[in-house]
């Protein structure tokens, strides 16, 4: 199993129970659970829907690990406003219908206070609509499609990862400058791929470029026909917009056909989980990282990274950070609002700046009030094979693009309305 123990057993029947199974963390909890118990209050329940199985599972597992890590940290220090935190994780199986069922179950049956999820944009989109219908605060940690905080933004929905437009805007200029204006897209045929490609195309058109594009199923595995066409088109850059396993498979076949000699690679996301899984010749190209572990001199980052790597024996990725920030956002909101009502929490989160030990990067990181989108830095740079003795050193940051700059509020199309 790729998944570590903690998410292997979904901690749905109370996370302390699951947490106790976590060895080291269990020990830490035994030492201080009285803080929580002494208050004797109802636990604070967080529902988390993520695709623990299916082609995006390696990303989802990291998010859930980050969330568990935050929950354990918080419970060790007395919970959220004195209440023990329980994390209820459900598997959406990378299927929108299942995700919708699961979020309803979390709300109707487990009576969770807040919800979060999903890596898959389409599921994130659909379940945040359910949360709105039910009047529950929802955080999307890692589903990128624009309308969630764009034209379909809602008073109760916040998002940590970037919009596809932010990611595209942060890297488009670099790709054009470095390689040229003739692009070929291989794009997954769902919400994420559609908006991501549209954002790239918009930038490319502005620069007077040309492109061809191909939409493939989200879990596609044979890319030979598409790569044949890509090769025939002779682009400067191949933008591999697929995610998770599909992106990895596409990269492998790209190398197999020897196409790395003909065109550059690039695009929005090539996450560390995926970079590690492709052959060295495909560990290349210019991409965005939405958070990067190697930030010398930035406070608190090293502690977080070491904590994750030690506990899960794998690199600390942006997905860990998403899950971590998600849980802490609830804590910050509840404790500042002194309420758990969704509307109060929403108003509190609007404009809220993350403290440095949560932001874990330089500059001001805050939830933009107008669209509820977190405004972190986007780390644009080059992916490369690992340096000697440093297996996770796979990316060199060239530019830090502030999120607010990557996509100004006016361009999101969001008109926030609140329940009367």
């Amino acid at each position: 199993m790729v998944q570590g123990k903690p998410s292997g057993r979904l901690g749905r029947r109370g996370v302390l129970k699951a947490g106790a199974a976590l060895g080291a963390i269990g020990a830490a909890q035994i030492s201080s659970p009285f803080i929580v118990k002494a208050l004797g209050e109802q636990p604070f329940k967080i529902g988390f829907v993520d695709p623990l199985t299916g082609s995006l599972s390696l990303l989802a597992v990291s998010e859930v690990q980050g969330a568990h890590y935050a929950v354990d940290e918080i419970n060790k220090k007395g919970g959220i406003a004195g209440r023990e935190v329980q994390l209820f994780v459900e598997d959406s199986a990378n299927d929108v219908g299942t995700g919708v069922e699961k979020i309803r179950e979390l709300i109707d049956k487990d009576h969770v206070d807040v919800t979060m999820g999903d890596v898959n944009s389409a599921i994130a989109y659909a379940i945040s609509q359910v949360a709105t219908e039910k009047g529950i605060l929802h955080i999307v940690p890692g589903g990128h499609t624009d309308p969630i905080t764009g034209k379909d933004c809602a008073w109760n929905v916040f998002r940590i990862c970037n919009t596809t437009s932010m990611d595209a805007n942060a890297i488009s200029e670099i790709l054009i400058k470095k390689f040229g204006k003739r692009w070929y897209f291989i794009t997954p045929d769902y919400a994420y791929g559609h908006t991501l490609q549209a954002a790239f195309v918009k930038n490319l058109m502005k620069a007077g470029g040309t492109y061809e594009a191909e939409l493939l199923p989200i879990a596609n595995s044979d890319f030979s026909a598409s790569l044949i066409r890509a090769k025939a088109y002779k682009p400067n850059v191949l933008l591999n917009n697929m995610g998770g396993l599909a992106q990895i498979d596409c990269m492998k076949q790209f190398v197999q056909f020897g196409m790395d000699k003909d065109m550059a690679l690039g695009g929005a996301l090539f996450e560390i989980e995926s970079v590690l899984a492709v052959p060295p010749t495909a560990q290349a190209g210019w991409w965005d990282m939405e958070w990067w572990w190697d930030q010398p001199g930035v406070p608190y980052v090293k502690e977080f990274v070491t904590g994750i790597v030690d506990r899960y024996k794998k690199p600390c990725s942006a997905r860990h950070w998403f899950g971590y920030v998600g849980i802490y956002s609830f804590k910050l909101a509840v404790e500042k609002a002194k309420s758990t009502k969704a509307i109060d929490l929403a108003h509190t989160l609007e404009g809220m700046e993350l403290p440095p030990e949560i932001a874990l990067q330089p500059g001001k990181v805050f939830y933009r009030a107008g669209d509820h989108e977190l405004m972190p830095n986007i780390f644009a740079g080059e992916v490369h094979p690992p340096a000697a003795n440093e297996p996770y050193n796979l990316f060199t940051v060239a530019d830090l693009v502030p999120g607010d700059q990557a996509q100004p509020l006016a361009e999101t199309g969001c008109h926030m309305t609140y329940p009367s």
Binding site: M1, V2, T53, S57, L58, E214, L215, A219, S221, D222, S224, A225, S226, I228, R229, K231, A232, L245, I248, D249, K252, Q253, Q256, F257, G258, M259, A277, P279
Partner: protein, 288 residues
Amino acid sequence: MLQLVLFNLFNGLIIGAFYVLTALGLSMILNLSNVINFAHGNFLALGGYLAYVLIPYIGFWPALVVSPLLTAVLGFVVERTMIRRIYGRDPIYSLLLTFGLAFMIQDGCRYIWGVNGLPLTTPASISQPLSQEFFFLTGYRLFVVGIVIVAVAALFAFLRYTRMGMRIRAGVLDLDTVSALGINVRLLRSLNFAFGIFLAGLAGVLAGGQIGLNPNMGDDLLLPSFVAIIVGGMGSLVGTLLGGLLIGVAAAITTIFYASASQAVIYVIMAVVLLARPRGLLGEEGLQ
């Protein structure tokens, strides 16, 4: 443009070869045992994974034979312990049984080898593109086509010229009579099932070398294989062969002109065949 057409035709041939290999196995089992083997794609994946385990010890070439054999042995055991018990009962039970097995094998592979795909190392001698211009013609892809041709020829020779092959063919037409002639029909079915699984295992190793291994790798092949059987005509292995090649190449040609309809064309072919010739291209009249 010509180059593009050639590439796609050849690609269609390879995809068609995989359809053929998968569909022939399915078809053999369907014809003699009256079982739709939903787990066929998962046996295929299992074949690939077994090769992954074996290659470090015995190398690629022996693994190409040994891992399909092991998969076939597993298929034999599954047939003897489970599938055999539902022969002669409502077809609903065989459907459900193999459906459940499919879930179990898929998740078992995921549990053992991980969700993250694994590479299947192929010998360097056949891994390189043959030329920069014909980058797509890797030695491996030619090799795949060659192996499939050999396997299919061997299968048909076996069915035609060996005693057991003749019994299998006779059993497809009239199992009761074959049984009345004193032939051990139970063993015949078990072995036939194992043959079908062997083909799946072989397809798994070949596909693994081409696109890598993952627990769902057989899923994309299963439904087109069903279509290949329907188009070719139920009860006819030659029909299955034709059906598999036809839809593989048709999809590839469509890809050249209108990529996103490449899968739709498979279903269009099926609908046309069902309307114009309900028993399929070479289907037996009696079997519907």
